[in-house]
């Protein structure tokens, strides 16, 4: 039995926000694959729960009139990964999600939960920040939007006030149309594992020129990060093996990996540089570029 001290079930976003306001010590539970593990391990700060598991209005994947893709945060990973819209327009997100846990976990875990937990290894975070995803956050006084990249403040810290809830994840059309991507997760096992390093590259190729590159890493810093200095340095350059080498060199200044029992800092840096080369290369090939 989980050590739950209080439990309220919210039927709507509004009700969830009201319950959060009334219960300053409460936590949201969505898919349960993180919260219930924490409770099982005796982490007491999760013993007052507001259950948003069945709020239907936050469980959707659609495309609006402008062509933007909008994902409800309570969509489970399986639904996102298998969505025709996602596979057609931003397949990099499907690829990344299919490396998470195993089928049972993906059938329960939600994409919003993955993002709101704020761990540096969140596998759905790097493709989304490489796609310039924007999150919508609702509170008692209305809603606001912010780039997902700015949503991550530190390990397990995100830009959500206690009484706020994520209500949408949006990838606008201009951020995916004409762009191609690739994702790779380096881990000790092929499934049921936490990334040692995760890497997402999204790029646009025009006449053998790397017109745009967005490169993101997981577990390479206290939060999932974009390598903006690298991106700015190489944007507009002609595609070549030298360019890939230069990207791999440059990313090392953009990242801040740490030592942990999972992997040493030097090893992580090695993986980061190697993945910069390989993942960007594959993204370029997917975009129709050739590498000489």
């Amino acid at each position: 039995m989980f050590n739950i001290k209080s439990y309220d079930k919210a039927g709507s976003t509004e009700e969830a926000i009201r319950l959060l306001k009334e219960n300053p010590g409460a936590h949201l539970i969505a898919g349960g694959t993180d919260v219930l593990v924490k409770l099982h391990k005796g982490k007491g700060q999760f013993d007052h729960l507001i259950d948003i598991h069945d709020i239907a209005e936050l469980n959707f994947i659609n495309q609006n009139d402008d062509g933007d893709l909008v994902i409800g945060p309570l969509s489970c990973f399986t639904h996102v990964a298998e969505s025709e819209l996602i596979r057609k327009h931003i397949p990099i997100l499907s690829e990344a999600i299919l490396t998470i846990g195993g089928p049972q976990v993906r059938n329960m875990a939600t994409i919003g939960g993955n993002l709101c937990n704020g761990v540096p290894s969140a596998d759905s975070a790097t493709p989304l920040i490489a796609l310039n995803a924007v999150v919508t956050i609702q509170g008692p006084d209305g809603s606001r939007q912010m780039p997902l990249e700015d949503f991550f403040l530190g390990p397990s810290r995100v830009a959500l006030a206690h009484h706020e809830i994520m209500t949408a994840i949006t990838v606008s059309r201009d951020n995916y149309a004409g762009y191609y991507g690739h994702f790779f997760k380096y881990a000790m096992r092929d499934a049921m594992d936490i990334a040692t390093i995760g890497c997402s590259a999204v790029c646009k190729v025009e006449e053998q020129v790397l017109a745009d590159l967005r490169l993101a890493y997981g577990v390479a810093a206290p939060v999932p990060i974009r390598c903006k200095d690298t991106e700015n340095k190489i944007r507009g350059r002609k595609i070549s093996t030298q360019l890939l080498d230069d990207i791999a060199d440059a990313v090392c200044d953009d990242v801040r990996p740490r030592n942990s029992w999972r992997a040493a800092k030097d090893f992580r840096l090695h993986i980061i540089a190697t993945l910069a080369h390989r993942v960007v290369k594959q993204a370029i090939l997917n975009a129709g570029g050739t590498i000489q």
Binding site: Y7, G32, L36, P103, Q104, V105
Partner: protein, 159 residues
């Protein structure tokens, strides 16, 4: 505030209405209240798949699923897979391929495999895809090969 809720759900085709404690996992309710002892607790944190059951035909880890979430849904466990004393095709394939050793992981594997076979019905799948499909279940005895073969046999078109 009471932590008890009344839920109505279907378990292996039979409708049940029971009073559950919101602190209980579906695993606890199925095992301890309904006697479905095929549902095993292995790791209790969603890593081993021994407690896999199907909810509306989708496999989940019952250890990380609050019992109250089952309200209004349909659950399948191994107890319901054998019909009129006849093993399901997946169960039969596990027996024929010798995909069982100590047996603790078997019910979870059978349910995960059943969902995989139903989801991929009519499609040709590789052994690699089967491995990915069963990646949420651990077995410490068999080395997996016989289990993968059992799933392959469950998918042959000649039935």
């Amino acid at each position: 505030m009471s932590l008890n809720r009344t839920i109505t759900f279907v378990v292996n085709g039979k409708k049940k209405e029971i009073n559950v404690d919101v602190r209980q996992s579906l695993l606890e309710v199925l095992r301890e209240r309904l006697g479905m002892i095929s549902v095993k607790q292995g790791c209790a944190v969603g890593e081993c798949g021994a407690c896999t059951v199907l909810i509306d035909d989708v496999p989940i880890d019952a250890c990380l699923y609050l019992a109250v979430w089952a309200d209004g849904r349909s659950i399948r466990t191994v107890e319901g897979e054998t019909k009129n004393d006849e093993l399901s095709r997946v169960q039969e394939a596990f027996v024929n391929e010798g995909a069982v050793q100590c047996g603790i992981c078997t019910p979870g594997f059978v349910m995960a495999a059943t969902a995989f076979v139903e989801k991929h019905k009519g499609r040709k799948v590789s052994r690699h895809e089967i491995r990915r499909g069963l990646a949420g279940n651990l077995c410490r005895c068999t080395g997996y090969d016989t289990i993968i073969s059992a799933v392959e046999k469950s998918m042959d078109d000649d039935h």
